[in-house]
């Protein structure tokens, strides 16, 4: 693996000082790495992501990119967009924010739109799209910016199997170029197949982290899959 992209060291974080949701969350993400953020509902996965994005009121700790030029793109579980802008205008706006030229924008966006089969609806308002189409738009916008780090929250919800495969293929291509990925998901079988490392979160703190072998060791279950290892760890906690 390459050099470190992000260092996360959160002592505590939450929606207010009286409402601490996560504590003692420490991990690094390196170039080309895909880290799975795993945990049951309410464990603190989304709070961890929001802490990294800087959208939480109360974060005690440090979240540091290796250098200031490093950028991230976030794919949320619930698609967000401006109701009055068309799909293409979201692409134009994202390109403007990320200071792409018109040529760069078109060269990157056109193939992505074809892959995710949204090229026929570029002048339509995304609020009229299905959940799956809206999720594809979020994915296209993230790939358009070519960031150093992809932060992805439940990426597979609403995606059809082809879109899911295309998404994972593109993600691998980006990783080969050096991008890192932090992905929160409940689909443990998919996570086991694609992630390099795992962060297992429960009740707001990390109960285990590392490769599948490390997780198995921590759970003291040999040859078990991620799901069984995670279950064993949860029962013990």
């Amino acid at each position: 693996m390459g050099m470190k992209i992000l260092n996360v060291s959160i002592d505590e974080a939450g929606y207010s000082q009286d409402e601490v949701v996560i504590h003692g969350i420490n991990f690094d993400i390196k170039e080309g790495e895909l880290i799975g953020l795993i945990g049951p509902n309410g464990a603190g996965k989304s709070t961890t992501i929001k802490s990294i994005l800087g959208t939480l009121e109360n974060v005690v700790g440090t979240i540091q990119f290796q250098d200031q030029s490093m950028r991230y793109a976030y794919i949320p579980e619930q698609p967000v967009f401006y109701e009055e802008l068309t799909l293409w205008e979201h692409i134009q706006f994202t390109a403007s924010i990320c200071e792409l030229t018109e040529q760069e924008m078109t060269e990157r966006a056109k193939p992505l739109l074809e892959i995710f089969r949204l090229d026929d609806v570029i002048h339509q308002l995304p609020s009229t799209f299905s959940k799956g189409m809206q999720q594809k738009l979020m994915i296209i916008l993230a790939f358009l910016t070519k960031p150093n780090l992809y932060i992805i929250d439940e990426p597979f919800v609403g995606l059809d199997p082809k879109a899911m495969n295309d998404f994972l293929r593109l993600l691998n291509e980006e990783r080969e170029q050096g991008a890192a990925v932090l992905m929160s998901t409940h689909m443990l079988d998919t996570a086991e197949r694609i992630c390099d490392r795992f962060l297992l979160i429960m009740k707001g703190s990390i109960i285990a982290q590392g490769t599948l072998a490390d997780i198995r060791n921590a759970a003291q279950v040999q040859d078990a899959n991620l799901f069984d290892s995670f279950e064993a760890l949860m029962e013990r906690t």
């Binding site: 994005l53 959208t55 950028r71 991230y72 793109a73 976030y74 794919i75 949320p76 967000v80 967009f81 401006y82 109701e83 009055e84 802008l85 068309t86 293409w88 205008e89 979201h90 134009q92 706006f93 994202t94 390109a95 403007s96 924010i97 990320c98 200071e99 792409l100 030229t101 018109e102 924008m105 570029i122 002048h123 339509q124 308002l125 609020s127 009229t128 979020m138 916008l141 993230a142 910016t145 960031p147």
Partner: protein, 413 residues
Amino acid sequence: MMMTGKRLFKRRLKQHIQFYMQIRRVAVDWAVWIYVLIPLLLTGLYQYITLWNMEAGWATYLNEPALALIITIFIFSGISISFLQSADILYLWQKQDVMGTLHRYRLGYYYTISLVKWLIVIGILAPIFMVYLNWTGSMLCALGLIVYFLQVLVGILRRRFKIQLGKWVSRFLIIGLVVVVYILMRYSLAHMATTGWVLALVTIVMTAYYSTYFIRQKQNFYREIDLDTEHKNKLLQLVLMQSAYIGGPEYLSEKISNLRKHPWLFRKSQKMFKAYTPEIGYREVFIKSLLRSKNWLLLYVQIVGFGVFGIVMFPFWLKWFMWIGMIFLIGNFLKTYWNKIWSHQFLDLVKWREVEPQKVSRHTFRIAIIPASLVLSAVLGYIILSYWGILFLPMIGLAIAFGVVEFFTKRIS
């Protein structure tokens, strides 16, 4: 305790009043009382006294066509509420008598609230009719009856149109109704001395007949509830838009759904500005979304329209106050809309170069305030200096507008 129609109505009315009280608390705090409402009330009271003393020069501009327009706007301002809720449906379907009583009380409430509103309005308009137009008390009473019953009738009809007909048919019919009512008001005001009481009698009979018909009509639960919700949402949206950004939940300030696939402007996503920079990006998003957002655009037009009305109708010194006041209000409106764009979750999707919000918003606000400033200044210019004013005052207006922009952008963080 057995639920009766009267009891259900009382409960719903209490909730209805509580809702309006909550809205009032959100929209009108002590600062609004001190800086807006009390000065407006004092100015209004002063103007009212000058009206009775025949000293208000501006009232001479109020002729019968203008008064007919004001009364027509008033007639169409009433909204009938159903007092139904989704949870009632199953119960009321089984209890037709409860529903019938609720329906009658609803109509009674609409009659009462319309009467209260009209008494206030006719009290305000009375000196204009009696002092400036030399109407008798009898003529004013006849007008009072015509307008009161017409308002009730129009309120019920509008509701029926919206419930029973398609969106466009209903809109078309309501526009037709506005024209008919305006013509009727023009005729009534011009012939009040001769036919006033006959017209009043006809209006009373028509309204009474239609009210009895309305009570017998079956209710469309879902549509009635939709209309009530739509009305409440519009009211909330208006309050949230007109207050500074107060961090209310997003769903309150957003429209429920957007059924149109393509926007009505820039249908092929044409860019307004050629460059691809964050500053231009924000500017483009601000202007395009404002132009496409029906409610926000309507509010902008309403502020300008109200300003034009005030500049035309108000006395000389108040015209200047309206001119500057409305430009200031547009500046505040732009700042509020900017907060909506700037605090949008979409901006969390990528972390890129930080932009200076004051710098970006300044240019954007200047572009967006120009139409309002030009219209208000041109109208004021024409009134005070005729065609020379149209050339001269818009330039001063632009300078003031840019000053207002400066004031508001400095308050953006």
